[in-house]
Structures are given as C-alpha cells and as structure tokens.
C-alpha cells in the first residue's frame, strides 16, 4: 500500500516535469529563437495571404507547373490531415498498376527516356515537398512550351531553386516544387 502511494506521488511529480514544464520550456524557447520554423515555415504571397508551408507539398496538375510526386494520402493527394504512404509491397499488383498509369500519363505529356523513380512513386509521408533535380529537369520542355518561355530561362530558375546536400554530404540534390512553381508564376 505504501508503495502504491509512493508510485502515485512519483507519477505526479515526474508527469509535471516531463508533461508540462518540458513542453512549455521548449515552446517558449522555440518561439523566441525560431518563430518562423516553430509556426510551420509558412509561405505568404506578396498580398499577405498564406499559400502553404515550405515543408508540405501540394498537388499540381496544370501543364504549366512542375508536378509533384504521386501521393497516397486519403481522400485526395497531399492531404496533410492524413499523412502516410501507400504501404504497398514491391510485388503488389495495385502498386504496379498505379505506376503503369503514372508512367503513361508522363509519356502522354511528352516525356521520353527513362523516368526518375521519385516522379512515379508515392512518398512515405504523402506530403513530400521535393522532387529530385532530374525529375525537375525532365519536366522543363513541357513547361517551356505551355508558358511559351525559352527552356534556358526555366532551366536557370530550376538551378536557382536547387537545394544542395546539407553540409555538403547529407541527403540529395532536390527542388522544392511549391517554391519553384511560385517563382514560375512570378517570372
């Protein structure tokens, strides 16, 4: 009985420390030092309206935009209220059919040659904000044609928006699709 009372007291004090003091201190520190990041790295247009987060991808289907990766989130692609992947195994017929459809769609949009894997596979979060640099470059001809702009100009834009490996060796070269498309609209 004495041990139960003791356990209750330890549970209460340690809960106060780790469940209240800890998150409050972290929230205050985050707010003071990194307010932009703590609030979700939101992107605002010049008129002040918020059009998304630099970290959360959006779906694009217009011919004049760079397309994001497929997304397996429930209800609609890039639904941040339902993050997750397809969870289909490598031999699952559903997976193979979906990829076949995606490849056919890219081919009909004029893409030939081999297609970078990230452009036809769904990400783990379903919210991947990036595509690989190769997947961006391969889309340039379509966008140039649709927007009637020289390819070099768009290529230059892609170069400007390429995120390099962090500290020189971490991760992959990649392009943030939302940021790149915003810049396209501002050309």
């Amino acid at each position: 009985m004495k041990e139960i009372k003791r356990a209750v007291l330890f549970l209460i004090t340690l809960s106060l420390l780790t469940g209240i003091l800890y998150p409050v201190v972290v929230t205050v520190l985050a707010r003071i030092i990194f307010p932009h990041q703590a609030a979700g790295s939101l992107i605002h247009k010049s008129d002040g309206t918020c059009i998304g987060s630099a970290l959360i991808g959006q779906s694009f289907s217009g011919l004049g935009y760079f397309w994001s990766r497929p997304s397996a989130t429930a209800d609609f692609p890039y639904n941040p209220k339902a993050s997750g992947g397809s969870n289909w195994g490598a031999t699952n017929p559903d997976l193979l059919n979906r990829i076949k459809t995606n490849v056919a769609m890219l081919r009909s949009a004029g893409m030939d040659g081999s297609i970078p894997a990230d452009l036809v596979t769904s990400s783990a979060s379903g919210l991947d904000p990036h595509i690989s640099l190769e997947s961006a470059i391969i889309q340039i001809p379509r966008i140039a044609k649709e927007r009637q702009l020289p390819q070099e100009k768009i290529y230059q834009l892609v170069q400007n928006y390429t995120e390099n490996r962090q500290i020189g060796f971490l991760g992959n070269k990649r392009v943030n699709v939302l940021k790149l498309n915003l810049a396209l609209d501002n050309l």
């Binding site: 330890f10 972290v26 703590a38 490598a90 991947d128």
Partner: protein, 598 residues
C-alpha cells in the same frame, strides 16, 4: 539518380558512427557517474530538485531494495502509468488543449495505446493528426516516452549492480534510478535536442490546424453517397461519381519538437503524426534526419560504455559495442544493396533509380536506409521510410533486426540487458566446451542465471511464432491483411515481431485497429516487456549474492575478439533457428517472385 550518390551515403554512414563512438564514451561515462551517485556538471542545479522529489514522495535516499522489492516498485509504477494513460485516452474529448475536438479512443484502442507507450513500444494503431489531442500528446504519450525509457534504463543499471556487488542482497533503489534517469539524462538532452530540431523546421506550437489556400486548385473524384452513406447508382447500376474541388489544404499543428526529441532519444518511436519521422513537420531536412538517427542510437550505445566503467573494465563495454556495431553495419550494407538495385518490375516500365516507393526525396537512399536500420536495431520504431514498401529483402532486414531480440544496440536499457543475457548464454556454452565452470566478470553462471537468460532471450520469439499462428488461422487475423501473397504473411509476422520485441514500427498496410489486433498486440507487448524485465532482475538478485571469483588461467576472456565472434555466432544461431522458416515463406519467397517477374 545522380551519378554517384553512394559516395555521399558512405561518408554519411562513416561520420555517423565516428560521432556515435565519441558520444558513447562521453555520455556513457556521464551516465555511469549519475548512477553511481558521483557529482556531475548538472549536480549543483539538480540535487536540490532531486531531494525535493524524494521528500515529497517519502523516499529515503539511502534505502536499498532487493530484487523483489525493485521489481514490485517497477511494476506498480508502470501499472499506474498505464491506468492513467488509458483513462486520459478514453476521456480526451472532455479535456482542454484539444483544438480539433477529437473524441476519446475506443476502449480497445485506448488499452492498446496505453500498453504500447508504457512498454516503450509505441506501436500505433491510431493516426496522430486525426485522433490525438495536444493534451494527450504532451501529458500522456510524451510523459510515458520519458518514463518507459527511464524504466528500461533502471532495469539494466540494477542488473549491472548484480554483477558488480559481492555477497550482497540489494540491487539499488528503483525510485532513485528512475528519478536520476529523467532528471540528469533524459530531460536536459531532450530539451536541447528539441530546440535543434525546431531550427530545422520541426514545428512547436499549440495553435489549431491552419487552413491555407492552394497555389493551384485541384479536384478528386469519389462515389456519391446518399444520406445513409450508401453509394448512389445510376440506371445502369454503375456508381455515380462526383467531382470534389480541392482549394485548400489543412496544415496540422502541435507541440511536435518536444515530442520528437524524446521519441528518438528514449527509443520510443511513436510519431506525432501518422507518417512518423517521414512527415516533414517531424523530420524536415537531411540534417534533422541525421540528428534524429544519432539521438536514437546515443543512449543504447553509451550504455555499453557506462556498463564497462561500472564493472571496472571499459574494454568489457567496448566488446559489446563492437559486436553491436558489427551487426548494424552488416544490416545497413545489406539493406542498402537491396534498395539500391530497386524494383526490377519498375525498370521494365522505363523507370530508373532505386526503390523510391515509400521514401522521401530529401533524405536520399543513405538517410533512408540508416534510419530504417537504426530504428529497428534499437527498439525505437520511428520510421522515415514506409517499411511495407521496401523491397522484399530490404524489408527483411528490419524484421531480422527486431527478431534477433533487439540486441543490436536495442532499446534504452532493454537492448543492453538482453545482450547481456546472450553473453551469459555464450559464456555458459563456451564453458561447457572447454570444461570449466562458466563465469562472467568473476561471477559463476549457474542454474538460475541460465534459466533467467533463456527466458529473457526466448520469450519474444515464442510469442511471435504463437501469435502469428493464431492470426493466420482466424478470420479476424487474416481480414486485416492488405497485401496479397507472401507479403501478407510478412505484414503479420512484422506486426507481432514488432510488438513482442517492443519496437513499434510496422508494415503499416496491416489494418491494426481492430479488436483482435489491438488486444493481441497489447498482450504481446506486455509479455515481451515485463517477463524478460523480471527475469533480468531475478538474475541480478541471484548474481548479487555470489562472491567474486578472481580470474585464473582457465577463465574465458570476454573482452577479446574470439569471444565477440562467438557471441555473434550464438545470437545469429538462436535467431536463425527460431525464425528461418517464417522468413523463408514471407520475404524470401516474395524476393524470388519479384526477380522472376509476375
């Protein structure tokens, strides 16, 4: 993808393990000091707080416990924690800090989740962003992230005392070990780590979810439903499809960084969001990814050094570290190879590059493989890659790491104590072969030690095989499987491996939120956690009574390479004998199917 990404990946792996080795020494010697009651840099700040807690709870700082008292305190504390969390989950709809107005969990989901978090498993049959209130996350789940980690570490420290002390009865005081772990180790480092994560973009706020208008509106099609939620059909009997415009995106918010830090550092692994550490708000950059991997490995790695210091011979700790590192590097190499070669079924469609289904672009292959192996080698279970969508052999690696009993670094505390049980078995078998009385660190290994070691090592395996068999012969078990063929077996095998070994990651396609799976996995988690824990404490209680036998010519040196290799052989043989048939029917068959083309 890019010409030679693997060069950068190798560099990343090398840098990670160099840093980890350095960290293991510093954090390990700090932890040894904390547990031996020596002064540390934080002592001036924390001793008053520590004493205040003991005074409030009525604990005598100098009182010691025998193994039964220690186990009793531990069980009572964890049992109460489970009840409290269960109530919080059931009733979260009535509490504040719930801007999305989530209602309470169903009883079986609440039970499963409460068990999951007190056992340091963090198996999640719910999806965080659409089910868990902020109060639940910070006051329920994150609290148990701290306490379950501290429980695991207390157990291993009590076990080490059993090896170190001579002809004694007591193995420490659970309340002191618990409190010191939280105050000196977990809280300060988690606080710093959380702020580092925010710098990378991990969110930390208590705002409601935020609606933002999309740059380009889209639409999706779905079957039109009548007022009773039945699909409406046209005259030909086809479903009527309606087009629903999407002009907005709802960004989830919440106190993520504080939870993320302890989730990795305590090898808990329960994601704030459904996508876990693949979610850009949990793991936004390649650096945050690298940092999270380091956090996951740091305590289990450091404990090996702390162990060496506490038994008076750092080499004994380094020997275990080397054995663990070897197995982890082997796993990393094999999974990297499997994923690098991609899916031949996609190559045939004109797709190039490695297997990207269920992976994020920003991490690259190296960051994905390192995370996937580290999280399953330790009992963390956070994921930045959907393990269900790994190639068959790539997905077998995490499964094997879990099935080996979480000894490749393993969970905080639990990894080291399970490894030490393997050491006892290895010493015993070697002792039989050379005809000497087996002893480890000057303590004779006798019947009690062997019994307890075997229980520790085999409990999880027995549960896995038994529960998988039950799932496969019941309708309730089979109806949750989402992938056809051998991959379906892999999903069930992974689920029970993960639960029984307290990992918590999943082949997430399995629909686990059913009464059957919630109760079965909860039972697997409880047995998998507390049976070995009590066996370890009992072994400590037996060891602590023994007198010290000084090493002689016939003593097996346990800090040298031949013994490390022998230990690896024992681990692999036990693992292989237990699970090879199941693995052959799941991932290995699927691999052959994939290579052959369907």
């Amino acid at each position: 993808m890019t010409n030679t990404p693997w060069l950068f990946d190798i560099l990343q792996i090398a840098v990670l393990f160099i840093l980890l080795t350095i960290l293991a020494k510093f954090l390990g010697s700090y932890m040894a000091k904390v547990y031996q009651g020596e002064r540390t840099v934080l002592s001036p700040l924390l001793i008053p707080l520590e004493n205040l807690i003991y005074r409030l709870a009525g604990v005598d700082k100098d009182a010691e416990m025998d193994w039964k008292q220690y186990a009793q305190a531990l069980l009572v504390f964890n049992g109460l924690g489970m009840i409290l969390l269960f109530i919080l989950l059931l009733l979260q709809g009535n509490f504040p800090l719930n801007p999305q107005k989530f209602s309470g969990f169903s009883w079986h989901l609440a039970l499963n989740t409460a068990v999951s978090f007190i056992t340091n498993t963090n198996w999640q049959a719910y999806s965080g962003e659409s089910a868990a209130a902020y109060l639940t996350q910070v006051m329920g789940l994150a609290v148990q992230n701290f306490l379950s980690a501290a429980t695991g570490m207390a157990i291993v420290i009590a076990f080490i005392r059993g090896l170190v002390r001579r002809t004694s009865e007591t193995i420490g005081n659970f309340w002191l070990d618990l409190t010191r772990t939280v105050l000196y180790v977990l809280l300060p480092i988690a606080m710093i780590a959380a702020v580092v994560l925010v710098s990378q973009g991990v969110i930390q706020n208590f705002s409601g979810y935020k609606n933002v208008s999309l740059l380009q509106s889209t639409s999706y099609e779905k079957p039109k439903l009548d007022s009773d939620n039945n699909p409406i059909k046209d005259v030909n009997g086809n479903r009527v499809i309606e087009k629903i415009p999407v002009k907005e995106q709802t960004l989830p918010m919440g106190p993520v960084a504080s939870q993320e830090a302890i989730k990795e550092f305590g090898t808990n692994g329960g994601g704030f969001f459904n996508a876990n550490s693949a979610h850009p708000f949990e793991n936004p950059t390649p650096f945050s990814n690298f940092f999270e991997i380091l956090l996951i490995l740091s305590i289990p790695a450091s404990l090996t050094y702390a162990f060496g210091r506490m038994v008076g011979s750092p080499r004994q700790g380094w020997a275990l570290y080397a054995a663990m590192l070897f197995l982890l590097l082997l796993a990393i190499g094999m999974q990297y190879w499997a994923e690098y070669h991609g899916n031949p079924l996609l190559s045939k469609m004109g797709v190039s590059g490695f297997n990207m289904e269920g992976k994020e672009v920003r991490f690259g292959l190296g960051g994905s493989v390192l995370f996937s192996t580290s999280t399953t080698a330790t009992s963390c279970g956070a994921v930045n890659t959907m393990h269900d969508s790994l190639t068959p052999l790539g997905g077998m690696i995490p499964m094997v790491l879990i099935l080996l009993g979480e000894v490749v670094f393993g969970g905080v505390g639990s990894g080291l104590y399970t490894m030490l049980a393997f050491v006892v078995i290895a010493v015993f078998i070697a002792g039989l072969m050379i005809g000497r009385t087996p002893e480890y660190l000057g303590k004779k290994i006798e019947v009690t030690e062997m019994w307890m070691s075997v229980i520790t090592v085999l409990t999880a395996g027995v549960i896995v095989l038994l529960f998988v068999a039950i799932a496969l012969i019941t309708r309730a078990g089979i109806s949750s499987i989402a992938n056809p063929g051998p991959h379906g077996l892999s999903q069930v095998l992974y689920a029970f491996a993960s639960a029984a070994n307290n990992n918590g990651s999943a082949f997430a396609g399995l629909n686990a939120n059913t009464v059957f799976y919630n109760l079965m996995t909860a039972l697997a988690m409880l047995i998998g956690r507390f049976v070995p824990a009590i066996a370890i404490l009992a072994m400590s209680g037996s060891l602590v009574k023994k007198k010290y036998v000084p090493p002689s010519v016939g003593t097996l040196p346990t800090d040298q390479i031949p013994f490390i290799l022998w230990l690896l052989v024992v681990i692999l043989i036990v693992g292989a004998l237990t699970f090879f048939p199941a693995l052959a029917l799941g991932p290995l068959v699927e691999h052959l199917i994939m290579q052959g083309g369907i």
